[in-house]
Symmetry: C2
Subunit: 244 residues, 2 copies
């Protein structure tokens, strides 16, 4: 039975999993779970992931969620996945786990928290929380600086001194691409000082084309929508995200 991948392409870890499958020639059926329509809470999807989160996969008898766990599983279970995505070498693999764990408590809450509380919240029927936005911005700024000076140290194209991408590059870059929906001045302020981060995002994009752009299309459309709303001086309203 073919692998089933449950996603909302507006979710950055969903995009990472879809791109990974496509780049590695993994055959799969993509099942859309539209978060803005609360489809993740349906009894059908609760059978797949009782915690109601995307992405999730079903492979034979295995039901699995959490994008890092999914990426690792796919890398190990599908022979078409090349070693550089999740190296067999113990030390290299350990370093990938380390950056993925760091991501959970630094870059992810920073980026997702900032985007939610400056742009997305009204589209999800939530208030914009300026205090939470400031806290997230602080974490995001620190995380970008750590990426620039530590994780991307040296002259390699990808994280951890590698010249080929790993699942960590894909996961972290997909997290950062969501900053596209911010106001231009905010995005420039955040990313501008971090030249290596910008180059690395582009390296990861190039290494996963054409799938990278195709899977991000929904985000780029959302970006246009938010830009138009800003030009018109309106704010996003509940329900608007269902047309993204």
């Amino acid at each position: 039975m073919k692998l089933k991948v449950y996603t909302d392409r507006m979710s950055q870890p969903s995009r990472a999993v879809i791109i990974f499958c496509k780049v590695n020639g993994i055959q799969f059926d993509e099942i859309s779970i539209i978060l803005s329509k609360r489809q993740q809470l349906s009894p059908e999807f609760k059978e797949i992931n009782p915690l109601g989160k995307v992405p999730a996969i079903v492979d034979g008898r295995l039901k699995l969620f959490e994008s890092h766990a999914i990426l690792i599983y796919l890398a190990l279970a599908f022979p078409s996945v090349l070693d550089h995505w999740y190296p067999n070498d113990l030390s290299k693999r350990a370093k990938i786990h380390s950056v993925l764990d760091w991501h959970h408590t630094n870059l992810r809450p920073g980026a997702a928290g900032y985007v939610l509380n400056t742009v997305l919240a009204p589209a999800l029927g939530l208030p914009l929380d300026s205090q939470a936005a400031a806290k997230a911005e602080n974490l995001l700024t620190k995380s970008l600086s750590t990426l620039e000076t530590f994780w991307l140290k040296g002259n390699s194209k990808f994280l951890l001194g590698s010249n080929q991408p790993s699942i960590a590059d894909l996961s972290l870059v997909c997290e950062l691409v969501q900053l596209q929906v911010l106001e231009e001045k905010d995005r420039v302020k955040l990313l501008g000082p971090h030249k290596k981060v910008g180059e690395w995002i582009e390296n990861t994009r190039k290494a996963t084309m054409p799938h990278f752009d195709e899977v991000h299309e929904v985000l780029f459309k959302a970006k246009e929508k938010f830009e138009k709303q800003r030009e018109m001086g309106t704010v996003a309203k509940p329900g608007i995200q269902s047309k993204m």
Copy 2:
């Protein structure tokens, strides 16, 4: 060269790594990095982990931090570690990654955030933040409920339907044991409704004795200290933790 493990036993992921080494007969030198004395920011420790966090390890040429990454590495690198800690079976391993990832964004910020903002903050020179405490309590309560009804579903002694502990049991239980420093009434309110969680903590403790109690000794002493302070109606003051 013997494995070096850099820890502060007041840190729950440090405790998980030390217990894991001891239970599995891994020979190591433990190097104490006292967080309350800001030793994690010393130039010597920054050579080990530039991000200034414990636990961290050095094994040969590998420098590694993030406790989950460390536990996985040790399980793979040391032949004395039995399979149940980090099973070779792809599906079982995937589920362990899933629960470890879930931990990062649910149980960990819930438990650590609540303890910090109700008890520990003054001892670290920080203010107690009641709003942050309420937010963390909400996340912790939800996480405990998810543990009880989902991750500990069935009649097994450990997570994911297993009758032997994995690195996930150790990591999550060490996170929860820090609730010992709370006021009795708060701890009972949080843990009381979750019978399976209580049994699972005890199962994990028993499976890792005598190391579990020995490594938690510093926490139990801290608990006594906080209890005495409460009896005397005083609050913890900056610097007090250096004597824990």
